[in-house]
Symmetry: C3
Subunit: 455 residues, 3 copies
């Protein structure tokens, strides 16, 4: 169904590291004179489909497209769309991504929605934020800002501060920082630490190790009492240190990335004494060369009197979003070419169909939301052993698949049983548990269903 030639940006992983660096250079060119490119994408149309409000992101994309000379059509408010008549996202993108528009930008409250759009639309899809899943263009802009400010990403010391649990931009940024070899210092608001699955993925995919960190006093955001952590893959010789009680000392900071409390995602929870960066913070020696970043909108986690400090780059960060998105769209529309190869994993391949077996455990995943009507449950194998780990092909939530069955005989085995290993990939049906297998009508091999529960 999907055009295999087309490229989408659903996850930051859809771009190879070298491609990202090339896009930075193109963005620099665009930025030199933003008003100079109105012929590059003439005749093309971008549709912004925003099922969740986000003026900033939408306007940034629309500005980028207009500066490229293209046209813009917008469905900006859920209530003004056909969804109120019950239309599925798949239908919407097939229509709007038919003759209406040449590229789609989607924002949607359900995790994994952007992958659904990419799968069904005939034109490139850019994820403008899908639930708690990803917001990859924000990540690109963050990386681009840091790269411009510091001239490199490798080896930078980046402090992440505030709500690290619910902020999707933080999670994507973490993976990207790890991928480019930067080190991460986490300064979470208590109770809003990085989730375990983020740490797990940082370790598995990038070899990142976590250790306690001792952060130089940064008034308002960090002190001796903080539960800071240091995440790095770039200094393997220091790993031993991390197993000691001695925390890694952070005395020089390249960037402080502040985030607001995502109140719309955790209403009811208190956020008093939330970190607040002030001019005092920036007087700390460790912050001498730091850049203050923020994805905006800010609430009050950065004082207004910090705005005029030359190290405050959050408005520049927003400004750089336009040339960065220009580069991305010109690339996806085929108006600029990159010399680098795309990532090995073409993410539009969905891999494993769960069939009667697995169901994504993420209740906010689109496969458990509006997709129930029409999506198959697709997964990708992330790790094949001890036990196998499968990720939802849409929202990327991972599950351990401890049992594997075979469709023909309706038999199921533990993943590490000899019979399981002999099954061909295409006939495998995966389950999290025996109970799930039994509920799907499978039998545990060598036993009748009556005593299956005792295993």
């Amino acid at each position: 169904m999907a055009n295999l030639q087309k490229r989408d940006l659903v996850s930051i992983d859809d771009l190879a590291t070298a491609e990202i660096l090339e896009l930075f250079h193109h963005a620099d060119e665009f930025r030199d004179n933003l008003r100079n490119w109105s012929q590059l994408c003439g005749g093309t149309i971008m549709a912004t489909l925003f099922f969740e409000p986000s003026t900033r992101t939408r306007l940034s994309f629309e500005s980028a497209m207009l500066r490229l000379g293209g046209g813009v059509i917008t469905a900006a408010d859920e209530k003004t769309t056909s969804r109120s008549k019950g239309e599925s996202l798949a239908d919407t993108v097939r229509v709007v991504g038919g003759s209406y528009a040449d590229i789609l930008v989607l924002r949607h409250p359900e995790d994994g929605a952007a992958r659904v759009a990419a799968r069904y639309a005939r034109v490139p899809v850019i994820n403008g934020g899908d639930g708690a899943h990803e917001h990859p263009t924000q990540t690109l802009c963050d990386l681009y800002t840091l790269w411009k400010e510091k001239g490199r990403l490798e080896g930078l010391e980046v402090v992440l501060c505030g709500d690290l649990r619910y902020s999707r931009t933080i999670h994507s940024f973490c993976y990207a920082l790890a991928r480019f070899g930067a080190n991460i210092v986490t300064l979470p608001y208590p109770g809003f630490e990085l989730p375990d699955y983020v740490l797990h993925r940082l370790r598995r995919d990038f070899g990142v190790q976590a250790a306690a960190a001792s952060v130089a006093d940064l008034p308002g955001i960090a002190g001796s009492h903080n539960a800071a952590a240091y995440l790095t893959a770039s200094k393997p010789h220091q790993l031993a240190l991390f197993t000691n009680l001695t925390a890694h000392e952070v005395n020089r900071i390249d960037a402080i990335y502040m985030t607001r409390a995502q109140r719309e995602r955790h209403s009811g929870e208190e956020t008093k004494n939330y970190p607040r960066l002030s001019s005092h913070t920036l007087r700390a020696a460790a912050a001498k060369d730091a850049r203050v970043m923020h994805p905006l909108p800010r609430v009050d986690e950065i004082d207004y009197d910090v705005d005029d400090d030359p190290r405050s780059v959050y408005f520049r960060q927003a400004e750089l979003g336009v040339p960065m998105r220009m580069a991305l769209m010109a690339f996806l529309l085929g108006r600029i070419q990159l010399r680098s190869s795309p990532p090995a994993l073409v993410s539009t391949t969905l891999g494993i169909q769960a069939g009667a077996g697995l169901r994504c455990r993420n209740e906010r995943c689109i496969t458990n939301g509006e997709g129930v009507r029409y999506l198959t449950r697709d997964f990708r194998l992330r790790d094949s052993e001890s036990p196998p780990i499968l990720a939802c092909a849409y929202c990327e939530r991972e599950v351990e698949a401890r049992f594997v069955g075979v469709a023909g005989s309706q038999q199921v085995f533990r993943y590490n049983a000899p019979e399981a290993r002999r099954l061909r990939t295409e006939e495998r049906v995966w389950f999290e548990s025996e109970a799930q297998a039994l509920a799907a009508g499978f039998q545990v091999a060598g036993r009748g269903p009556e005593n299956a529960g005792t295993v």
Copy 2:
């Protein structure tokens, strides 16, 4: 007040049959390369005034205009417009259709609103759906799709299925099919049959006769128990057959046009066992060459596994909307010329002013809604005899005018009285009933008002 040179598309009747076919050929040209026409309407502006949400229709128009090189301004949400300050539609279109825009597209909840807009705006007006009245560009796109798929319209067998009562697109489509000589098979959801006034107009204007139909078994949408009807004007030799008990057999179908239940128009009524087209339906022999059409958005009246069947053309139907609307707008803006003559009836002439007499019986008509403040009650004579039938010049609802009076003497006669026949057209005042005439202060000729009620 209206510019007599300008052309509007309020009703599909505003275009001559030959003009429609010419527009199809222009649409084909546009479709060859949608990105190739960005000079054709450069410098012009389209305003979309949507007083009722319809993302699909709005985006289709906006895309068409951008592809023609024009600009777009949009008022997409009732609440963001001046209507909340009490402005009339007539004022809005005089302002927006002054210097703001060169063409208007209107969607409005009141029947007949588009005719009001056409009358007051100085620029061409396109009806994007006005209440239950018309949605002519949807009809154009439907006809265009069918014409492209089948190479002709004459003699096609078109099944209309689902909610035939409340769907304005179905009504317009019926008239257009009859006009182009296609035959119609109705498969209504019980209780949602075509309204009598649609059947009546099909008979009067196009000579269409209705008969019972026996439809080949189409699982999910038709069976022996269906109250199917066959509507045709093209086979006069078979008319005798229709008076028999033998139903017309339908064994070959060119198109199945599915519609969703218009839940927003009949909330509260149940729609369980609503027809549902599935891959089983398409396995029927009669459906071998059928095309599956749907105006979208679909709810669940077509199964998702039908999407990949090559006979499913509903997404193509949406896609063709853009080149079709490009052709229409380029024509109305004077950027392409048609060789064919316009229809004889210039629909902007309003004909008869009802004066103190008739009032449109349609409670959702704009003359009974916001137009009360400023519209005169205008009618057009549709049928001059037995008894005369007048149609509201805005919403086209028909009334029988059994009495005719004369303004000067305030006398009123039965329509077929000799005195009535002698009245000059311009002095006639029409009434539905004596009571209505009396209420307006008229007297029944030759009698005092005291015994008028006994006639």
Copy 3:
């Protein structure tokens, strides 16, 4: 922070009188063929930030920008913006007025918001209406219409009718009429007279004197019972007359400017017997050469049958808004140059920082609204004597500053005390009252704080 080179239009005072007349001539040129200018601002982007709905104003600006060949991005509904996440206006305009857009048009419910935007944005800001403060482009369009219709502004007799209290367009229009030497006749709906502060400013800034007026009978809007006033600066020899009981007779009218009841600003107050202009009104001899104007939307204060009278220019007034706004934006974007000098007072200079002292008395001022978080309380000296009058630098509400202190010694004096006169401008801290000074920790000079209250 602000770019000192850029020009904004926050208040009509931001344009010199000669500049306004030059812009009229440019608007005439644009109007000759609206479709002819699509290269003039190619490559530029206008952002419309509408925190309050106003379709008419927004569409007029968007049309103007598209006709100039620029692009448009829009945040039209408060609920779709980041404000629901708590972002300040200052942050929004710094982002959108960064790389997103080259010019901003703002509409905002808080008085003074446009000045905040102008101060923080790097690009030109146009005030599209900020609370009850100003709506200068409406004023420009009104003046332009009158100038075109009458060939001049000097000495015209302009009747203002209806709600003169809450209509910001009326207030701005008054100042502008006075500046251009026109005379004003007020015909207020009882209770909705021009506020005193408007009269006060007319007198101080333009030498306008008010007198009772006797207005020729104008059915529906004026009669002998009206509390009409005549405001003029152009006939100094008649001033003596105004002090007599004889009212100034108005027998020839150049324009009648009708306004609707601003129901959204005074809900609950009755507006029955609100003035209503009809064809009867226009039959009055005094109205022979009058033009009927209205900022629109109209509710029912002008009858529909007046629309076809050639003296009705309210739709032309709306139409002229597009070329007028084209001229303004082409100027602010630097695409056309004016020969005239800018006004002496560069309004972006804020003048006096109130520090711990004055607070704007206008509860709807942005300094008392969302600006509390980040704005300093800035004032400008309007009148330095008897007592000094300071105007809020944002909403322009004036206060009498009867006390002046000095920051170093925390001492405060009456404004006319010798010590006060010796204070250097930059060390002055202003107060409305002793109580305010004491509350701020200042001491009345020469006394202890214990008996300060007895002064």
